[in-house]
Each structure stands twice: as C-alpha cells, then as structure tokens.
Symmetry: C2
Subunit: 157 residues, 2 copies
C-alpha cells in the first residue's frame, strides 16, 4: 500500500487539531513531519478531489477540513489516495490458452475473483466502520498533550 496513505491520515488529523479558523499551507503541513513538501501537496490535492478537505488559493490560502472527523472514515482516505479500484483484479486467465473451452461457460465471474472480492469487502467494511474521529479519540487518550502542542506549533510558527 502506498506510503502516502499514512501521510494523508496524519495530515487530516492535524488539520482537525489545528481547527477551522485559518487554512494551512501544504508546505507547513509537510514540514511538521519533515515530509517532501511538493509530493505531500499531491496527496492533499487527492483529498481535495475527494471532498475531504477544501483548498483555497492565494495569500493566506491553504487547506482546511471540509467536514467534521466523525464523517470521514478510513475508507474515504484510502480510496482518495489509492484509488477506487480493487487490489485484486482478475485478469481472467482461465479464458486464455488451449483449454479455454466454450465462452458460454464464463458467464459467471471467476470463482477466485469472487472469493477474493469477498475478503476485500470485509477489509473495506472494516475501514468504513472506523471514522477518523475514533482514531483521534484513541490518540488523545494515549498522548493527552498532543493536540494543544500541535495547535500551538502551527499557529505560532
């Protein structure tokens, strides 16, 4: 899985902790974790296309959260970065080669594809079940001082 997913997740959580008062630039958001700024910008664009964050141009511009964390699931972020297509894509090799047989035997989807899709559905379902607010809550429980420290760093620096 793309490493950008982790970046995007932390980025969105940071945006939530900072608050909706002012937009935050991609460069500043990247600097906080020492990420390559131009590339992280790309992930933010993907999040903007997905409607998770909103972007404003010009001076004092930047990104801000589009909706509360309770309405952003892990699935939303993963889909925004990785794309909506399934991880296991059946190439239908069973239809290739000398033993292919008659085409009318392949009306139903490949049984393997079906089985893999079932597993992937379980994965997606679990991702969709957890919102970023759940994660925020657990993170704050582990490190109570983090939100205030982050908020201060972004507003003062």
């Amino acid at each position: 899985m793309s490493e950008g997913v982790e970046w995007a997740l932390h980025g969105v959580l940071n945006l939530a902790w900072i608050g909706p008062d002012r937009p935050v630039t991609a460069a500043r958001l990247a600097a906080y974790h020492e990420l390559p700024a131009p590339y992280f910008n790309k992930q933010l664009q993907a999040l903007a296309r997905a409607g998770i964050v909103t972007s404003t141009s010009g001076p004092r511009g930047g990104f801000r959260l589009a909706r509360p964390l309770t309405q952003v699931t892990l699935m939303d972020v993963v889909a925004a970065i990785e794309g909506p297509e399934e991880a296991f894509r059946c190439a239908e090799i069973r239809q290739q080669g000398p033993g292919a047989g008659s085409p009318d035997g392949y009306q139903k989807p490949c049984a393997f594809a079906h089985a893999m899709a079932r597993a992937e559905l379980a994965w997606r379902r679990e991702l969709a079940r957890q919102t970023l607010d759940d994660v925020r809550e657990q993170a704050e429980r582990q490190a109570p001082g983090a939100p205030e420290r982050i908020r201060r760093w972004f507003l003062n620096g």
Copy 2:
C-alpha cells in the same frame, strides 16, 4: 496486488484437477493459460517453499499438490506469493519533525496503524476462512465439464 497470485491460484486448482498420479512440469502448466513459463516457474517455487506443492527434479519431474485442497486456504497462497508482511506498514512519521514531542509518548503503537491493522486482520481472516476446495466446488458447479477437460488435456498432450 501481484498478478502472480491469480496465476498461482489457478495453477494449484489445475494441479488438483489433474490428480496426484504424475507430476506436471512448470512449462506445461504455464502453457495451459499461455503464461510466461519461466516466470510462472518462480511462483511455483514460492508455493513449494510454502509447502503447498512439492517439486521433483529430473525426467518425469515437475510439481504436484502437497496436501488436499481442503487444507489449503486462500491466505496460504496469498502469503506464499506476496510475502507475510502487512500491506500497510506504518513508518511512524508522527515521531518525525519539530513537533515530535517526548519519545515516551510513543510507547503505544500509532492509533492509525492499529486501526489499519484491524481492517487488514478482517481481510486475512476472510481469506483464511475459505479453502481452495470451496472455490473448486463453486467452479465445478459453474462449469461441470471443466475438470474432465483439463485432466484430459494434461494427460494426453
């Protein structure tokens, strides 16, 4: 996900249909689906290392099934090809950068990593729940003539 997973799945299923009488060479197994033989050989080696198939060298050599399909899960095959490591590997970027904070706040694992691991566990659980025999059964229901046709092609050709 690697395309080789699909190849390996179909390869194992074909081995089961052919039967344990004689080993089948990688080249012949690849030809059936018009796959690049040397590369498919690589996947079979991975399956052999995982103990799913057994390999015998020399003339009349080849691969054969190591244990019945009822004891081979989708998870086994995926792990054999893709490797055992998790798809989402947390790089702990929260510990990088100016706002890292004191290290003792990071004793617990990253909340995101935990959430993602939970989803991935659901995926693995579903993969482990389904054996290749389940898939075989469904495939035979869709195309009843397939096993006999495949068996004949491999034994006669």
